[in-house]
């Protein structure tokens, strides 16, 4: 009887785990995106504070280290840790700079969570729609790739209108590195050149 109980318990735990992970991913997206939208729409903040808060939130949602290694593709394994660190800093500054330049257009949108699908344990896709605000006339379907990293859910990719952003950035970055004879520093410099106030030096 005890053995039967143990088997049932183990099986139910195993079955329940992915569901919990998927639900966690869904709640994570709902909570974090709402928090970002709140920051953007908060009239009490001046622009500098709003940008700082926004960037803090983004860095809590996305795992920049994992994304940076992903966009380096096969070159990540060939680079020295120092090169990867420099690239990651430049990549983070560049990505935040791109978001920063578009901030004024957003803030009054509403996110609606539809469902979540698990790719494998700790790796889920959350299906959402963003409506209102800047996309008032054309609600956008957005899919979030959530991976559990150190027991915490983190966004590693977003799909908008059929384009996965991290995959797209990987194509661009590896393209730049390939055209520069496999030199990662070339991509770091290029990212830095496109970022206002970049302090990364290779």
């Amino acid at each position: 009887m005890r053995l039967m109980f143990l088997i049932i318990f183990s099986v139910s735990t195993l079955l329940a785990k992915p569901l919990i992970a998927s639900e966690e991913a869904m709640h994570f997206v709902q909570e974090k995106v709402n928090r970002v939208l709140d920051v953007l729409a908060d009239p009490s903040m001046d622009e500098n504070k709003r940008i700082k808060e926004f960037e803090n939130e983004i860095l809590q949602i996305a795992d920049v280290n994992v994304i940076a290694r992903f966009v380096l593709g096969p070159y990540a394994a060939k680079a020295s840790p120092a090169q990867v660190t420099l690239f990651t800093r430049a990549f983070q500054d560049y990505a935040l700079g791109v978001y920063r330049s578009e901030l004024d257009d957003f803030g009054h949108e509403v996110i609606q969570i539809h469902e979540t699908k698990e790719r494998k344990p700790g790796d889920s896709i959350v299906y959402t729609t963003i409506a209102g605000g800047a996309v008032k006339n054309k609600p956008r379907e957005i899919k979030w790739r959530i991976i559990t990293i150190n027991n915490e859910p983190r966004v590693v990719d977003i799909e908008i209108s059929g384009v996965w952003i991290s995959q797209h950035q990987r194509a661009e970055i590896t393209g730049v590195i390939a055209r520069n004879g496999g030199n990662i520093n070339a991509a770091t410099k290029m990212l830095c050149a496109q970022t206002t106030g970049c302090k990364v030096t290779g």
Binding site: I147, E172, G175
Partner: protein, 244 residues
């Protein structure tokens, strides 16, 4: 250009492309013709900045939005038989029924397709083409291509486009002013598509590290999305390496 001329042109491009595929150029994965593609891309960029973009902007300025919408609806309605054929070839019967209903409603009540009455009735527009159909039959994309003036494509999509042009119902009909009609249709289509992408292209050019690679990446992902009708193939998603 007549059907024979178009077929010859496409075959020539196909031959040139397959000959070039063996040349020892350095290229990115999936883009063995990158040097040639980059040259065509550079030509297209110059042509776009000098002619297409200014013309599209002028068209956008002088044509009220409802008129442009009517033109888009009309052009989309003309394309419906092609969409329907591909719905059927892909065995998507519900979508085929929708395309048929849309074509019937819009061609009659919708004043020859100018007004999208079907959309108001809840029958949404969708696109299918032969390139997508070939993909659903397991034909691989082949090398990435940049076509002069047409822009990004690949061997599969070029084959699909060439076949559609050759077998288009318009190719088999005879009427006065057919050539003029074909030219006006092509010009309007090109201009309207460019107006649609004015904002997107501005953003791409502003944020890109390499415009050529950026457009190639967008094209490949958007086509993949169109082939699966937006469904995600979980096995196709890349893994993220979590190891430090």
């Amino acid at each position: 250009m007549d059907r024979f001329g178009r077929s010859t042109l496409v075959l020539s491009i196909g031959f040139f492309v397959s000959s070039c595929a063996h040349l020892p150029w350095r290229h990115s994965e999936g883009d063995p013709l990158e040097p040639m593609n980059r040259a065509v891309f550079a030509f297209n960029t110059v042509a776009d900045k000098a002619v297409l973009k200014p013309v599209a902007k002028t068209y956008q300025t002088i044509t009220p939005r409802p008129v442009r919408k009517g033109v888009r609806n009309f052009l989309d309605n003309l394309q419906s038989p092609v969409v329907l054929a591909n719905d059927i070839l892909q065995g998507k019967w519900k979508r085929a029924a929708k395309t048929t209903a849309r074509f019937a409603i819009n061609s009659t009540v919708g004043l020859g397709g100018v007004v999208d009455v079907a959309k108001g009735a809840g029958i949404e527009k969708h696109y299918e083409d032969l390139g997508q159909t070939l993909a659903t039959k397991g034909i691989s994309a082949g090398p990435y291509l940049v076509l002069p003036l047409f822009g990004p494509s690949n061997m599969r999509d070029l084959t699909g486009l060439a076949t559609e042009l050759t077998l288009s119902p318009l190719s088999f009909t005879r009427f006065k002013g057919k050539q003029t009609f074909g030219r006006v249709r092509l010009a309007l289509n090109t201009m309207d598509r460019r107006v649609e992408t004015l904002q997107d292209m501005k953003l791409i050019r502003k944020n890109t590290l390499d415009e050529y690679v950026s457009i190639r990446s967008y094209y490949e992902q958007i086509r993949k999305d169109a082939i699966t009708d937006g469904a995600i193939d979980m096995d196709d998603l890349p893994d993220f390496n979590l190891l430090e």
